[in-house]
């Protein structure tokens, strides 16, 4: 399986978020177990630089960084955050988040589209975190986003994919890669995303807040691989009645 975004071949179909790890010392073994294509980071005010910190570990791992604009609530704020991330981390890729509600952490569609358009014009490779709305993802694709990242359920909830049909509609609506973002709680959620036709899965909390983050990182990698393989294999149609798999003829009696 391979994944290409904006002409760049990525080595895996799992993206990993770093938020929530209890100890930074877990990051290296988690990255080794997950083998992610990209790893996300946030951008925040700093008053000092700790040597051997997050950035050193990530650079040593060689995994490409995907900065996010988490916490931004307006297009203006998200655009400046993305521009700062590009300058700090030397990448024009951005996971664009513009949050419209502090309780649900749902994206603000209007501000999101505005920010996406501005950032694409400014040369960014934009991967927007979006609702599972086929109309909005098409609009995001139309303004030049390189992928779309619909939510399976609210950020950090671990509720999995609450509306599989909506994710399928999103996959059908766009030609850019669809990356399931948010809501993944365990390996079967990641597998389902891939079975629905997603090109990749982003998981953060599912790994970082698991009892054993390293073991869960491996489980999610395997879940993504299994789901992608099943999607490629083509599942049987669902039936409402049984269909015997053993021969009907030749029975005794």
């Amino acid at each position: 399986m391979s994944l290409s975004i904006a002409g760049t071949e990525l080595g895996s179909q799992l993206f990993l978020g770093t938020g929530g790890l209890p100890h930074l010392s877990l990051l290296e073994p988690v990255l080794y177990a997950a083998r992610p294509a990209l790893v996300t980071v946030s951008v925040r005010r700093t008053s000092g630089l700790a040597p051997g910190g997050l950035l050193d570990t990530l650079i040593r791992s060689g995994v490409p960084l995907l900065p996010n604009t988490a916490g931004c609530t307006s297009a203006r704020e998200a655009v400046l955050t993305a521009q700062l991330a590009r300058e700090a981390l030397d990448t024009s890729w951005v996971k664009l988040e513009v949050i419209g509600d502090e309780t649900s952490l749902m994206p603000d569609a209007v501000e999101l589209l505005d920010a996406a358009e501005t950032l694409v014009r400014d040369g960014f490779v934009v991967l927007p975190y979006t609702t599972d709305d086929p109309v909005l993802v098409r609009r995001l694709q139309d303004v030049g986003c390189a992928a779309v990242m619909p939510l399976g359920s609210p950020i950090g909830s671990g509720l999995g994919i609450l509306n599989p049909h909506a994710i399928e509609s999103v996959v059908a609506a766009v030609s850019v890669p669809v990356v399931l973002d948010a809501g993944v709680g365990t390996a079967s959620d990641a597998a389902l995303a891939m079975e629905l036709g997603c090109a990749a899965v982003l998981a953060a909390t599912a790994v970082t807040r698991a009892d054993d983050p390293v073991a869960m990182a491996r489980a999610l990698r395997l879940g993504v691989e299994a789901g992608a393989a099943a999607y490629a294999a083509g599942r049987i149609p669902r039936r409402t009645t049984a269909r015997a798999s053993s021969p009907v003829s030749g029975r005794i009696g």
Partner: protein, 66 residues
């Protein structure tokens, strides 16, 4: 002279590079970006970007996040 650094009033500095040296202990630390009055100042312009009275400066770096 004072400026607003990461949301708090702070003693000013002649240039962005001077401010970063005082604030972070290095003139060009890796993984850091600066915006002055809402505009990113590229690293190579830090030494010649002067800070005016009341300038609003943001200094950021990467942290763990999803």
């Amino acid at each position: 002279m004072t400026i607003v650094l990461n949301g708090s009033t702070h003693a000013g500095a002649a240039t962005v590079a001077d401010l970063i040296e005082v604030h972070l202990g290095a003139r060009a630390p890796r993984g850091v970006a600066v915006a002055v009055d809402g505009e990113v100042v590229p690293r190579d312009r830090w030494p010649r970007t002067q800070l005016d009275e009341g300038a609003v400066v943001e200094v950021v770096t990467a942290v763990q996040g999803g």
